[in-house]
Amino acid sequence: MLMRAEIKAAIEALLFVSGERIGGEELMEILNLAEADLKQIMQEMMAEFDQSTRGIQILTLDGGYIMGSKPEYAPVVSRMIKPAGRRLSPAALETLAIVAYRQPVSKAEIEQVRGVKTDRVIATLMEKGLIKELGKKAVPGKPILYGTTHEFLQLFALSSLEELPQLENEEGK
């Protein structure tokens, strides 16, 4: 059994090497930790990273964790990384918003809200890995149901879907 400080160091090493999101279950398994312990340790770690003068923070992402730069250093980092060609059309953003709030949602339901054909937008979003197929709806024609991915949350710097603003007067669906 590792000491607490060592566990934190181990998690730091894992997150650094991975560079991507590591799921909570995976960390629990690798480090042989109980869920409550992991959560508490991660809380402490995140606070420690935030409080000390360092360029990296740990973020929660869909029940997992990921390392990212602190927003304060965005101007510096963007001098190195040119944000090239990342543009989503308003049509794509609208569609993403609908998928995010309504998932699992079929193409027909998206088109009902938008009032236009959405095939191409969905193909683009699938290609960019922002939405994925969740399964098929149990109605005639078995339409594909779509949902958002980890990458979606990451792209918009959201830690989970709950962080999206509340819908106004959404009747229970």
Binding site: G19, E20, Q57, L59, I66, M67, G68, S69, K70, P71, A74, P75, V77, S78, I81, P83, A84, G85, R86, L88, P90, A91, L93, E94, T95, L96, A97, I98, A100, Y101, V113, R114, G115, V116, K117, D119, R120, I122, A123, M126, E127, K128, G129, L130, I144, E151, Q154, L155, F156, A157, L158, L164, P165, L167, E168
Partner: protein, 244 residues
């Protein structure tokens, strides 16, 4: 009315309706259907070009508005409304759809604000799905493909002594390319697909066939680095998307 309006500016009939309502500062719960229907149809008239792919959705909204307009004119309904205030307003559905659309449009803008705000951005080691994009974006780079094609042509510099007239079918070449690509989506290098001993005209047919396949989104072309090999693979995920 001679102002030219591009329907492309609107991301669908609901977007256009919303624009009209906002321009006229109309209370969304009390839409003057006749006025809005007329303005809406004027808009479609003044677009000049008609793009059949897009216009369908706009036209179906126009016919819906006209239907609504005529229903509003029916005296029976108007009378009934005065008696029981609870009577269903035929405009309810429209109001509901516009409000719903507006909400998602605003949410889309909210998402955009989160992601375009470079100054507060959090960067990740593997980018924000950006790496992925760059690799795919190349499929539209004609130059990279041309470059690869010239490389193939150089390899087959020895052209046959006589150019016998022969009929070359691009459709056939498209099938040949599709056949050469593994089902599982694994990548194959463009130069390898193309048989080394063909005539220039046949090589050209392969190239045209490839462009066509990319246009139809059946094949994907990626290039990992500048002047690197172009890899082709079957595009699996979007089989079911119609090419229009």
């Amino acid at each position: 009315m001679s102002y030219l309006v591009n329907l492309d500016k609107f991301y669908g009939p609901l977007d256009l309706l919303l624009y009209l309502l906002e321009r006229e500062e109309i209370d969304i719960y009390d839409i003057p259907v006749a006025l809005i229907a007329d303005q809406y149809i004027d808009y479609i008239h003044t677009t000049g070009q008609i793009d059949l792919d897009n216009i369908g959705d706009f036209l179906s909204m126009a016919s819906y508005l006209l239907n609504l307009k005529s229903r509003m004119l029916l005296p029976g309904l108007a009378a009934a409304e005065e008696v029981e205030t609870e009577a269903e307003d035929p405009r309810d559905e429209l109001v509901h759809r516009i409000l719903e659309y507006k909400q998602y449009k605003l949410l889309g803008e909210y998402l955009a604000s989160r992601y375009n705000d470079d100054m507060k951005r959090v960067f990740f080691r593997y980018g924000q799905a950006e790496i992925n994009w760059a690799a795919k974006e190349v499929s539209s780079s004609l130059n990279a493909l041309l470059h690869a094609w010239y490389a193939v042509m150089d390899r087959n510099a020895e052209v046959g002594e006589y150019d016998l007239p022969q009929s070359i079918d691009i459709g056939e070449k498209m099938e040949a390319i599709l056949k050469a690509l593994p089902e599982n989506g694994a990548a194959v290098i463009f130069q390898d697909i193309y048989p080394g001993n063909s005539l220039r005209s046949e090589a050209l047919a392969y190239f045209l066939a490839l462009l066509e396949l990319i246009r139809l989104q059946k094949v994907e072309a990626c290039q990992e680095y500048r002047f690197g090999d172009i890899k082709l693979c079957l595009q699996v995920a979007v089989d079911n998307v119609d090419a229009g």
